[in-house]
């Protein structure tokens, strides 16, 4: 008897390893650490006012800003857009373009509450500038918590929820904007820094 395992309806993620070079990472960190206060504001999704700040509202397109102000990042937005194009072609999604991008800085105790980027965005992404903690992704299946998991064994790719994807500083994760995600409270002494961006339909 021949058996065949079939995985139905998986959710596609792209992991870009070393999307940013060490030089770019170092320059971006330096740039952020010397940025004036008005560059950032508090955003409730990323922690408390005393332990987190985000450029989400005051600076809605940091990738263009980095392109223009950090020499090692010249052309960065365009090279990331090429990865986005490749994702769309590969997974069968209409063409999208990067529509906004921002940086979050989280110090000890800050956590990213569970959220998703769907509404305007089709795809979302995270680039780990100084990673420190993993991002956890949640299945959209309403049945996830109803299956009788075997707790005597490790979880499997069918039962793990939420799920994290191993990444390092400089890596990028690209995923559908409707996948909800979060991070646990940051416990390190160094600030956690991530760059995120959204993509919306190119031809609207």
């Amino acid at each position: 008897m021949k058996t065949q395992s079939i995985d139905l309806f998986p959710i596609p993620f792209f992991r870009g390893i070393d999307a940013l070079s060490k030089e770019q990472l170092s320059d971006i960190i330096k740039f952020i650490e010397t940025s004036p206060d008005h560059y950032f504001k508090y955003h409730p999704a990323f922690g408390d006012p005393e332990n987190s700040k985000s450029s989400f509202l005051p600076q809605p397109d940091v990738l263009t800003y980095f392109d223009e102000n950090i020499p090692s990042c010249k052309g960065l937005k365009q090279s990331i857009q090429r990865v986005v194009d490749s994702y769309c072609r590969h997974f069968g999604i209409e063409e999208v373009v990067i529509c906004n991008s921002w940086v979050n800085v989280q110090s000890k105790g800050a956590e990213t509450t569970r959220h998703l980027h769907g509404r305007v965005a089709i795809l979302a992404a995270t680039i780990y500038i100084r990673k420190c903690d993993d991002t956890y992704f949640y299945t959209p299946s309403p049945f996830s918590q109803m299956i009788p998991r075997d707790f005597s064994r490790p979880t499997t790719k069918y039962t793990t929820d939420p799920q994290k994807i191993n990444c390092n500083d400089g890596d990028m994760l690209l995923f559908p904007a409707w996948v909800s995600h979060a991070s646990k409270p940051h416990m390190g002494d160094e600030d956690r820094i991530v760059l995120s961006f959204n993509c919306s339909l190119k031809n609207v």
């Binding site: 008897m1 021949k2 058996t3 065949q4 395992s5 079939i6 995985d7 139905l8 309806f9 998986p10 959710i11 596609p12 993620f13 792209f14 992991r15 870009g16 390893i17 070393d18 999307a19 090279s79 990865v83 490749s86 769309c88 590969h90 997974f91 069968g92 999604i93 209409e94 063409e95 769907g118 089709i122 992704f137 299945t139 959209p140 299946s141 309403p142 049945f143 109803m146 299956i147 009788p148 998991r149 075997d150 064994r153 490790p154 979880t155 499997t156 790719k157 069918y158 039962t159 929820d161 799920q163 994807i165 990028m172 559908p176 409707w178 996948v179 339909l201």
Partner: protein, 198 residues
């Protein structure tokens, strides 16, 4: 930059080709023919004049083991595969609970449904036209159509059918919505279905 594709949160289906022998298939069809009194015809979950032993005799596997000699240990054979499925899926092993046979003549269609109170369900195809009347599974992802697709891939479709032939068996999570396309062949579609305890 090196790129990896990663697939998150898939749903596991296992298909067993020729799970029963041709002799077993012939024997069970004879059993079905002789057991017509066990079948009822008012089947709400199927459009048209289908018939089923559910719920009149929903322990049909027990009766089959007694009455059809070539099927004397069929429950154990199915249970072995369920155990293997559970291990792979990552859920606790469950014993077979209820089981029933359904007959669908041409033009009937099984409506989309799930199997509440069960963990793993299965279908054993006793009679069907090859490549037709397959079981169709539906994504439970409410956002699946939110991504504007340029073409169909396994990531953008919201339903897919598992191609199977008679004597094949499939196992799947009981919460997974499914139906079948309208039976288009002149031959009846006859299947044996089963659940496991939740």
């Amino acid at each position: 930059m090196k790129k990896n594709e990663i697939e998150l949160f898939p749903t596991l289906i296992i298909k067993y080709d020729n799970f029963i022998t041709e002799q077993q298939r012939v024997d069970i069809l004879n059993y079905v023919e002789k057991s017509k009194t066990k079948f009822k015809t008012d089947v709400g979950i199927v459009t048209g004049c289908a018939s089923t032993t559910y719920p009149i005799d929903d322990l049909i596997l027990d009766d089959i083991e007694k009455c059809v000699s070539s099927w004397f240990n069929i429950k154990e054979s199915i249970q072995t595969q369920i155990n293997s499925y559970c291990l792979r899926y990552g859920v606790r092993t469950k014993p077979i609970d209820n089981s029933w046979i359904s007959i669908q003549p041409k033009g009937t269609k099984l409506k989309k449904h799930i199997h509440p109170k069960s963990t793993i369900s299965g279908v054993l195809y006793l009679k069907k036209a090859d490549s037709q009347d397959n079981t169709v599974f539906y994504s439970v992802n409410p956002y699946i159509d939110y991504m504007d697709k340029s073409y169909d891939t396994k990531y953008t479709i919201h339903k897919t059918e598992i191609s199977s032939k008679q004597s094949d068996m499939i196992l799947f999570p009981s919460w997974f919505p499914h139906d079948n396309n309208e039976v288009s062949s002149d031959e009846d579609r006859i299947i044996l279905s089963f659940n496991t305890f939740a």
